[in-house]
Symmetry: C2
Subunit: 410 residues, 2 copies
């Protein structure tokens, strides 16, 4: 019998005790300390470390309600989904996600590798740091976790069992509302439009029927296309990074959806990083260096994805009809189309929707922020409406460049 | 305690006893008789009736293996799927499916309305009977069961729960192999090509790379597009019919897939009925009358579907982005595209694949059968390759007519 045989929400001292009893990580003589380190909205995150060695572990525990408010009752199934997905992603893309030591369905915890030596990528990008290996790492992560979980590769009955296991109604609903609906009609009155941009946003987003029609098509793609096991929230806040290492975290939005959703999120959040650098870096040389790196990274993420996708397809394809000449090219074309569409959705929703990005909101100068937002939204519309035309990294970059040209710096 | 608290495979006398104990259909003084009436491959089907009244019931029991061979171990979950789907379809399209009296998850039985006064539609069509209300009935069935189970209408979390509940890997695999793969490459060596047609089929189906590419695209649509709750096997052998009544049965292939799959199956099997009438009816006037009725029915099934779909959409749409002007028309266009594609797949697989239709195989004259098969396969290829172009019933009929023109009667 153990006190951890029945669920309760742990305090730090109890987490240390829990780790000692349940995990095989620390020596018998370890002097464990524990601190709650997370300030997220949903889960409780603890770091446990041994003062006598360099060993440490992260314990994430799900409460029956959200951390920020007891009003939000959430299914604790999200911890199972997160732990299983991390383990699966680790198998598919070793080294690009944290190691999971243990998932405990009684205590609703996931114990995993401590990444305290890494930084959240968005935080680092806001300091205009660059990460030369990021495009290589993230393109490998995406090709491996996405292509290898499609019907191109998986035995179809096995894939259907996985689809069933990862149906994720509550978290998909958040995406359906915040990404695929509200930014374009402020349906729930929750949008946060930067005040001087309100008239422009109303005209360009809310009153463009052609845009709404295309967003609707993309929404149904998200609702119905069980293509690949997505991360589901692959922005720069879900990535831990150093100069040498990239680790994707927080897959609680995972489900089987269109793979362009993940890729588009990466591209859009790189564009936000570009917009921040362009607005906030005063030194011309520094600005040029940082923005060029972001541009190069946008191009490389797409081009490396295309390249590795093609190689991995040839290596792993099992579905006989997917081996038909021309099929791979057609399939990749649909992925890039969806990627462009989602790039536009993410650019829109993080600019005017409920969950905004610091890349834009921290731009101090009002005029500069106005310009940055308009660049992002102008590119967004083009990505959504012209999504059939994107094939290469430079196609994606060109849309950013065209939008920048439309809003010259004062 | 009852002997029916533990599963066993029943004999007819036990089925009568079971019905008396478990169902509230018969009076206390009923004199029940029971006979096994099914000769299907998979399940055991019994009819129980009261000699003292006109009451009767059908009891379908699933064994742990297929009825025809103990080698095929099948999940008994198919009985739950069938019973739940029939009940759901009855709610959506009252009167167009049999009433389910009871689903019993211990005995793996589904007890339902006895339709002995109806005939299997394929059997009746082989006698060249006509059914003036069929197009009206089946178009209502399809609009109600399909459109009302999409994300256009259903709350998205509820729909996801349904998708999860009806994931159907074993039976989908049968379709993926027999409909979407083997007809076009004889991959498993199971095709049954009418010998004088072998060379022609090899050239026209197996050696047409453009066709295989399009079939591959359709296969991935079937594998990934969780659009609506399909019947999944909606051919004329799954329909009980009289002059006044149409009842759709046998939904064990049900799952969430592209709705064109059901509609295309109906159209293709009407084309087979046409081909049989055209080849087998010797009297010119009778032939003309029967084939004209089939042609009119093909046109009406599509046109009534379109019409009722549009009305039902306006009545039931809940998804806000689906209300955007132009969205309904775009969505229906994708449904008709898929319908044309599946019409072509079903025409192909029932002509050359493992599970053939009597409409073709019973054509006695070899030349006439050869011609009928070539008409069906020529139309099939056009339906698949040109599937983007179909909008109205007459578009569908024209493809049959063009194929007929290409193979003049001697």
């Amino acid at each position: 019998m153990s006190k951890f045989d029945t669920y309760f929400l742990m305090k730090p001292a109890e987490v240390a005790e829990y780790v000692k009893e349940k995990l095989d990580i620390f020596d018998n003589g370890a002097a464990l300390e524990c601190k709650e380190i997370g300030d997220g909205n949903i889960n409780y995150i603890f770091k446990v470390w041994d003062k006598n060695s360099d060993k440490s572990v992260i314990v994430k525990q799900a409460g029956p309600t959200a951390r920020i408010s007891e009003d939000f009752v959430l299914s604790t199934d999200r911890t199972r989904i997160e732990a299983e997905i991390l383990q699966m992603e680790y198998d598919l893309a070793p080294g690009l996600v944290p190691v999971v030591y243990k998932y405990d369905d009684v205590m609703n915890t996931c114990s995993m590798e401590d990444l305290s030596d890494h930084t959240i990528m968005r935080t680092a990008l806001l300091k205009h740091e660059t990460f030369p290996l990021f495009a290589d790492h993230i393109s490998t992560f995406m090709v491996n976790t996405l292509l290898l979980t499609t019907d191109v590769v998986l035995e179809h009955k096995q894939k259907k069992a996985m689809v069933k296991s990862f149906i994720n109604p509550e978290l998909c609903e958040i995406t359906e509302d915040l990404v695929y609906t509200e930014p374009f009609n402020d349906y729930n009155g929750r949008n946060l439009v930067f005040p001087p941009n309100l008239e422009w946003v109303t005209k360009e987003l809310y009153n463009d029927p052609d845009l709404l029609l295309e967003v609707g098509k993309l929404k149904f793609e998200f609702l119905t296309n069980a293509q690949a096991l997505l991360h589901g929230d692959l922005h720069t806040g879900s990535i831990f990074i150093t100069q040498e290492s990239t680790k994707v975290i927080d897959p609680e939005f995972a489900f089987f959806g269109p793979m362009g959703y993940d890729i588009g999120n990466v591209i859009a959040n790189l564009i936000f990083a570009w917009a921040n650098g362009d607005a906030e870096i005063k030194d011309l040389g520094e600005r040029e260096a940082y923005c060029s790196w972001v541009e190069k990274t946008i191009v490389e993420v797409i081009d490396l994805f295309n390249e590795k996708f093609s190689v991995a397809w040839d290596q792993h394809v099992t579905e006989i009809l997917a081996k038909q000449p021309g099929f791979k090219e057609w399939y990749l074309g649909t992925v890039l189309r969806d990627t462009a569409g989602v790039t536009g959705l993410e650019l829109s929703r993080r600019t005017v929707g409920l969950a905004q990005v610091k890349d834009l909101t921290t731009i101090a100068d009002e005029k500069a922020r106005l310009r940055a937002e308009r660049i992002c939204l102008t590119a967004a519309k083009k990505f959504i409406k012209n999504r059939e035309t994107y094939q290469t990294g430079s196609d994606f970059l060109q849309t950013l460049k065209d939008a920048v040209t439309a809003f010259p710096r004062d």
